[in-house]
Symmetry: C2
Amino acid sequence: MSLEAAPLTRFARRLAEQSLLGQPELDALLALSGPVIHAVGNRDFIKAGEPTDHAAFVVAGLVGSFGQNRNGHRQITALHLSGDMANLHSVVVPQSSEALQALSVSTIVCVPHATLRDLADTYPKVAAAFWRESAVRHATSTRWMVNLGRRNALARLSHLVCEVACREHGSEGKDGLRFPFLATQTHLADMLGLTPVHVNRTLKALRDDGVIELDNRVVTICDWGRLAHHGEFDSTYLHLSGGGNGQDQIRH
Amino acid sequence: MSLEAAPLTRFARRLAEQSLLGQPELDALLALSGPVIHAVGNRDFIKAGEPTDHAAFVVAGLVGSFGQNRNGHRQITALHLSGDMANLHSVVVPQSSEALQALSVSTIVCVPHATLRDLADTYPKVAAAFWRESAVRHATSTRWMVNLGRRNALARLSHLVCEVACREHGSEGKDGLRFPFLATQTHLADMLGLTPVHVNRTLKALRDDGVIELDNRVVTICDWGRLAHHGEFDSTYLHLSGGGNGQDQIRH
DNA sequence: CGTTCTTTTGACGAGAGTCAAGACTGGTGG
DNA sequence: CCACCAGTCTTGACTCTCGTCAAAAGAACG
């Protein structure tokens, strides 16, 4: 219970900031709960193509959405950090087209669709907030597409590190920022559409260049400016509230 | 007015089929309208990063969402056909992160956000339908990511042709299906994360293989089975109702 | 303390990019 | 009616980023 309080607060606050929710709506969001599961790596806790009756809220850990090739080569299409509802969209499309898998040991709260639907029905503003949250996620997906289609390995990796830094930190990155990023290099490869070997080489280039440091899956950003430049990174698409430009409120 | 009737009907029917809307909701959807513009190629009719106050409904033609590189290399992240609301998500995130551009001369109805918001506020089921439609689009995006990250040129192109065939035809593809696909090879390259030259070579391979024919931007599918096999295509993610498996209704 | 999963590196190969030039198309204007 | 022009499409030759294969060294875990 107390375990998931902080991440849930982050989730509710993000929704509220973006959609101007009132106190009743906020309280209702904070009351969300459900069965807790501990997901481990290399095993889908939600399978592709099967209907689901709950959404997966990430309390702790790191979760990815996995698409797949006929050869079995996997493509991670989204990353879900602590405080994210991994598959909020499953409320309206219960037949998920993608699998959900933990990249590191993760704590997940399975929030029943029924609960979320009731919430959306009771508070139209919450319904709008859910839709909006989904749309912001979609914006992230489109950045990933640009990354995959139109950037080389160095830029892709840099962009990804920038994104995770910002989402983890809650605002713009800066020199000296240090955070755990529990994905393996194989996971990174699956996010970036590369091979693990090439990720390793690219990571080395970034390290040798003095842009980042890596120690046991803890990233330290030595030179945010150069990293963001390499990744052609601009954080506005994340719609962060923290250290952003502050002009992100929805306009009615 | 009569010009946009058929595509709008298609849009409304798709929303209704997926979300079980009643007659009042349907009527309200069919009453949607707004200023009409005629968009031409090579010029964004909605620019990236600028706030919008309307959604773009495609009556006729072909529209793409464009992301961009620092070098100016563009990545098309989504395709909008006749009967699609190109940026429905802009209702909840008015600051679009991407540009909208016509790939061929297109007729667009600019539906004011205010109208759509009123509709969603009046009919909760419509709000849900809008959200659902956005989610289905997102599912398409994730397929594109798998395409970009984990498939070679031949598979990417085949998959794209399959998708467009299905969306255009309203159901599963089949041999002999013929439809106009008004994108240039440069556009195809921008969708697939390739160069125009390589698209040309790949297209030739597909033609030489007898899988498709191409005549003045009209595609004929000679061998749907082989095309779908090349593209590793499975249409369920599109949530078509027409010739699909029929088990796509939302489960409450 | 061995087994399995990662990370790291090197050598080589292949798919896709780059550059360049010519053919074809549709539209414009003399 | 024809010449011109800009935008496509097509093809070939060469290059380069990234994939493949392989092997060894570290880490994690029971």
